[in-house]
Symmetry: D2
């Protein structure tokens, strides 16, 4: 039997059981021989819990696969065939900061492509570039399957600054759409043709039926009568119908932040003031999940994981790995190099598009030009992504301000600058590239306002 | 002597005396033989006042030029050599609506490329396309010099939908920058090389000295110590210095709305709640100006006009006409077809750039690619312009919403939609292309909230 | 059972039996109910022979399908589901002229993208636009599957000037490559990943194995040791190996005309002077084929058809129709709208690329930028195609000259102009758009030099 | 008085007197203080003659300027303000090889963008990159004014591989056009507006009169009745009128090689067989010029220099230097970075276009898209240039073949490969980057056929 080693960075994540389930389900076509879960010292406890849980899942399967855990990333990566990344630099506490600091000033945090997500990119990119460096040394033939958010920006940095092409960026949002939308018009997924184009958490799609007829308007219409498949972690405010019918494209759930900015912000502020932001809620869910995972009798993915918000993320990762491994030419939606597929953006940047996945990786399907409004939004957001990737590797403060101000969720000005400054301070531990700026902020006695964040900082988090 | 006929649409404007002054000053190179001021019936009184004032200015000059006034636009256009447009559909009352309706919901109005400006475009484009149709019929060789705002979108519509290429869009903002910035670094305009690129009221420029050294950083630095030449009609909040130094470009004054959105909005809301919005202030200034113009002894442009905010607009128009007429190859900043000059935008759209002006019109100077943040902003704004031009000719409500939501000054959602709906209602008289939508809004009992606007509507304005 | 009607224009072609075979083979997934073969009066005899032969093929199959023949194209098209086009305006005699007139002056004729092919485009485009007009009227939901050459230019004209999007342009060259190349490196087609990009008869491809490793160099190497799959109708001169290794792409067989122009011309001149050009040879093969087809006992495609040069053309057509009909998402190489797939060309032009074929038609796979030499060749050839399409619909003689001179097989100048003039004269019957130019040529006593062409003309062909 | 030092590399050229004349004429605006002529040891004798002649020219002027000569390039470059390059690697003997080797096989040599010119690029680029390296060290603020041919490719290499932006590529062809064409339609240069776009020796232009009316067709028409200003060194075969009228652009003289390839080749072959190729003729002219230059009484540019073919080259260089030095904003046609001016080519490549010349260097005027045939030619030729620049720095033989075969004057195949091989052999001394390939050719006993070239080689040239 041929070796097939999977290394999962951030292996102590609560998502790991879904990943195991995905691999068990696909074992025939994707006969894993070794799984290594890697985490950092701060995650050692969770890693131990998840590692045992994962092993129990395999033990209860018909397959003899060994799951190992380690804190030595470089050793783990040795001879890997696939590396999946699902780590979170600074853990959920960092996400709490990403969300609460902006909201403490009435600005949306949003941890993917909102201001919070931009700081997540600043923290994550240096780490992922380190991982890529390790991979060049010890597993140069491996594929990197990234689902650490912001997945699009991280994938962009891996390719642009890490010069590593064997990478696929993944997301569960398109998977969800393709599973839920057919039901809205009494079809099955196989009967419909989906074409996605855009960026991670900022893509649109159109849908045709098996005869090539555009059924996008039918799905839009149905979205207002039936459940429209908004991801668990996004507030359920509907898009404005006239707008959707005009664009004749279906936005992704995260577009709510941009097309219904007012309501999304109001909802986030309400949560901020009451039950806590999403990260705080997730922390509670995670706590419950880990309690479950500790149960030595639990040997399958518990139902509660679906509340976590990332359902199908790991399943998509397994599907992608299997398609690459077995050269299966599956059509999936992934973050990959544009190559012209979205001609409104440069051919060398990362986009999220429908693509054929095979042993060669992702070959994107050309989508053609978007109409003016979508093209404009997309170009803004991609350039924001490019700006933040550059800021992440250069530590340029002026560029950071310039880029954050591009984000349509941010009203530029003194308050926004204060938010940027507080985020820099609060994440100081994970932003060595901004050390000089942060020192200057401290010297200027800039302080964080949000009490929850201050509590975290007080305990060294 | 050769005929040289100038027709000014919106001739009853308070700017007309500056236009006269500009022509008198340039008479040697631009020997006007006939000036016809055109206006609409609602502007008849102002037209009469301005017409007499204009004639007095010429009479006190060494030149024998006759100024005529008329309400018959088509007759006036006959055999024109240059047509200048400075009209305002719906007069200042419409601008009051553009500004107050958004502000009544805490959203910036901004009458150029903000939400207010988008409605100004919706009102103006059908009228300008009518004028172009007249020009095709009665003065097919004339040049159209547009300084009706939003000048970039109006110029785009003239070319894209009017299929009329002999047009120059003008603005006084670059003129002001080129006059004031040299002094900041103890130079003269002639010693510096300015390169502008972008859109009307959304352009950046870089500056080199006579030896080709980039002095952009010096000017930025000096802007924080000396008067930075912010136009009269824009609140004087400074740009954030780190941001400017990173981009190493000088934004235009209107960029404040986008780079200091918070402060500009706060200032506008304060004015809204106290002394009235800019349009209301301008109305008072205009009233005073017209009182002055009535003085039968006044035969030169009064000093007070400079408070109006559009200083050098008309002078730029005269300079442009003279350059075209005498094939002078002057370098000016104008709105014209891109032709590749700004490679981040399509070659066939209208941009505002440095250009050589000659008998052929404007030949733009190629600027090269912008960095990611500027490219992103620019592409967003240009696509917004393209969206609004299309909405103006189609009356498509979904596209209108989709386009207004692109504007970074607008937080999308129910309130923004309400603002759009109220603006449609308030401008009903000037938006025939949206008649069906407006009828539906009325049927749905949508009403305008702002009391000042309601007063205007009550009096049929 | 649902209706599934196929109409074949140029149904009297010798290729029709392969088309029948392809449909019989795929009957389960593509249950044809009606086949109508259409031809022109000059082809009535062949149509009758082929019609009977086709019916015999179905009769010897397990399926009950009726083949009808007609000269009334518009009536035939009524309610068609798929229309295939394989007609040749002016029959083989026209191809003889396309080949012999240039060769009579030592210039390559080449009936696809050489000068001969450009004239084939001029003759074919007006006819195909007529067909499209009929389809709009009587079968607006049908798909047009074109394999009339020059397939790329014809497809371009259908979309650009016919405004008909439901079209697929087909060619057998990629099919052949994908069948023969795997064997060169002891692989099967299914084990390899092919990526094609370019134009019809002017595309390159790269090949990866199932692990994503680039095996293009291995195939290139093997091409010099084993049979390299050059199409029957192309002289077997090998590519220069250093050139191929540098580009690391595999050109198509037709690239020989451009990469080994000297040898291909020498070979064509030799045939011109001895056994006759390819068209003359084909005429003999066709004669033999029709003798076979007349045999009332023949009820399957005869082996001899493979000598004809177009093997797999019809099979590719059947595969394409089946994939569209049954929404099968097959990966094929087709001529379709670029949509960005080849970013060195505009997104709205027709390219030949790997694509997913489904009920929506072709969704091309983005290839990314080509290296400078390939990009340059491609841009030249595509612009030549665009020039000839425009000349075909406008009848502009200056544009025709300008376009023909672009072709790298043509040394521009007086002789090339003479060749253009003689081709116009010789094809006068089929080039009504150039009637004025042709009249002028006749008035100037321009005459055709080649004796074989003159003989054809003398007999009214 | 401020220092203004000019260094001329290849100072021993026969063109130097024109350069002196240009500087003397412009002394008021361009007050040169020091001129240093540099050459290589093989050119020492000519350098001495020219150096004295140059000094005599200044001595007979009202200005006190010292001309020095040296073989120490690096020392000469110290503190230069402007460096002009007019050297010829391998002297005229190399050009003889560039022309005769291709012609010995019936292929055009053409020393600018024909096959000969491609080899000139291969020889020149390494040398110019060396010069740039010296300039970075000893005169980092100097401007490089290149008129060594092929000027476009050399300028491209300086920017792309030398990373040196302060460079202007010059050519006399546009100057000639702008001087001669106005007379054809009874106008003066100042009354017309010229817009050039394309590449060095491969550009087109359109012309408007002072009223903006397109007079391109008038000039085309007149070219067939009057002297059309074909450069001295190009055979006078007229363009085909219908072709020009269709494109409505005026090609440059060198376009004859591409639009009348047949006649140009025939003429070159005739010269090859009789009076010798252009290089051989030039050698004779040069000999005569140097005899004249030796005359100690000659103190002005002799009339005979105009026969040399490059008239106005040096004058253009002086005009460019003066415009940069005095920040004059002159409109000239130069090779510079595209920046979008020709949107059919990438923004970062070098083009030859109309540009404003000032202290900042060249700011190109945006031309807009070309029609399909011109776009196709241009894209082919630019990609050929990019290929040859890369081959010049990498010494890649496969890329060299691939690039040479792109040239429309070359019929690809065995003979063209033989020509490439012979050129490599004949230029071995100047092509160290191809040393391995050349060694292999020698091992394979490849030899040069042309007897004149063999004679040169026998004498070590």
């Amino acid at each position: 039997m041929q070796k097939l080693k999977i290394v999962t960075i951030g292996g102590g994540s609560s998502y790991t059981p879904e990943l195991m389930e995905g691999m068990i389900k696909r074992y025939a076509a994707f006969p894993v021989t070794e799984i290594c879960l890697v985490d950092i010292p701060d995650g050692a406890e969770k890693l131990a819990i998840v590692g045992k849980m994962a092993q129990r899942m395999w033990d209860s399967s018909p397959y003899d696969v060994k799951v190992t855990t380690t804190l030595d990333r470089r050793a783990a990566l040795k001879d890997a065939d696939f590396v999946t990344t699902q780590f979170r630099v600074g853990l959920l506490e960092a996400r709490i900061k990403d969300e609460r600091i902006p909201l403490s000033y009435g600005i949306m945090g949003q941890e993917t492509n909102g201001p919070g997500g931009l700081f997540k990119a600043l923290r994550t990119i240096p780490v992922i570039l380190d991982i890529v460096q390790d991979m060049k040394d010890v597993c140069p033939n491996a594929w990197l399957i990234n689902f650490t958010n912001p997945s699009g920006m991280v994938t962009e940095a891996i390719i642009r600054y890490g010069h590593w092409d064997k990478v696929i960026g993944l997301c569960n949002v398109p998977v969800n759409a393709m599973m839920k939308e057919p039901k809205l018009i009494d079809k099955t997924t196989g009967e419909l043709i989906f074409e996605f184009a855009g960026l991670n958490h900022f893509h649109w799609h159109r849908v045709s039926d098996a005869h090539g007829h555009d059924v996008t308007p039918d799905i839009i219409e149905a979205m207002y009568h039936k459940d429209d498949g908004i991801p668990k972690n996004i507030h359920k405010v509907p898009f404005i119908k006239e707008q959707l019918l005009d664009m004749n494209l279906i936005p992704c759930g995260y577009h709510r932040y941009y097309y219904r900015a007012e309501e999304m912000l109001a909802h986030s502020i309400e949560e901020y003031n009451t039950i806590g932001t999403r990260a705080q809620q997730v922390k509670q869910i995670e706590h419950e999940l880990f309690e479950l995972y500790k149960d030595p009798n639990l040997d399958h993915k518990p139902e509660q994981l679906s509340k976590r918000g990332g359902a199908y993320y790991s399943d998509a990762a397994c599907e992608a790995m299997m398609s690459i491994y077995s050269n299966k030419n599956t059509c999936m939606v992934v973050s990959t190099v544009n190559r012209g597929a979205v001609p409104d953006l440069p051919a060398d940047c990362v986009v999220e598009v429908s693509a054929n996945l095979s042993g060669k990786g992702a070959l994107p399907l050309a989508f053609g030009h978007l109409e003016a409004p979508e093209a404009g939004w997309l170009q803004l957001m991609k350039n924001m992504e490019l700006g933040i990737c550059k800021a992440a590797v250069t530590g340029n403060y002026g560029l950071l301000l310039n880029t954050v101000f591009m984000n349509p969720l941010v009203a530029s000005g003194a308050t926004a600058k204060q938010v940027v400054d507080e985020l820099l301070l609060a994440h100081a531990k994970y932003l060595p590239q901004f050390a000089d700026t942060i020192a200057k902020l401290k010297a200027d006695h800039v302080t964080v306002k949000d009490p929850v964040v201050n509590e975290l900082l007080a305990t060294g988090k």
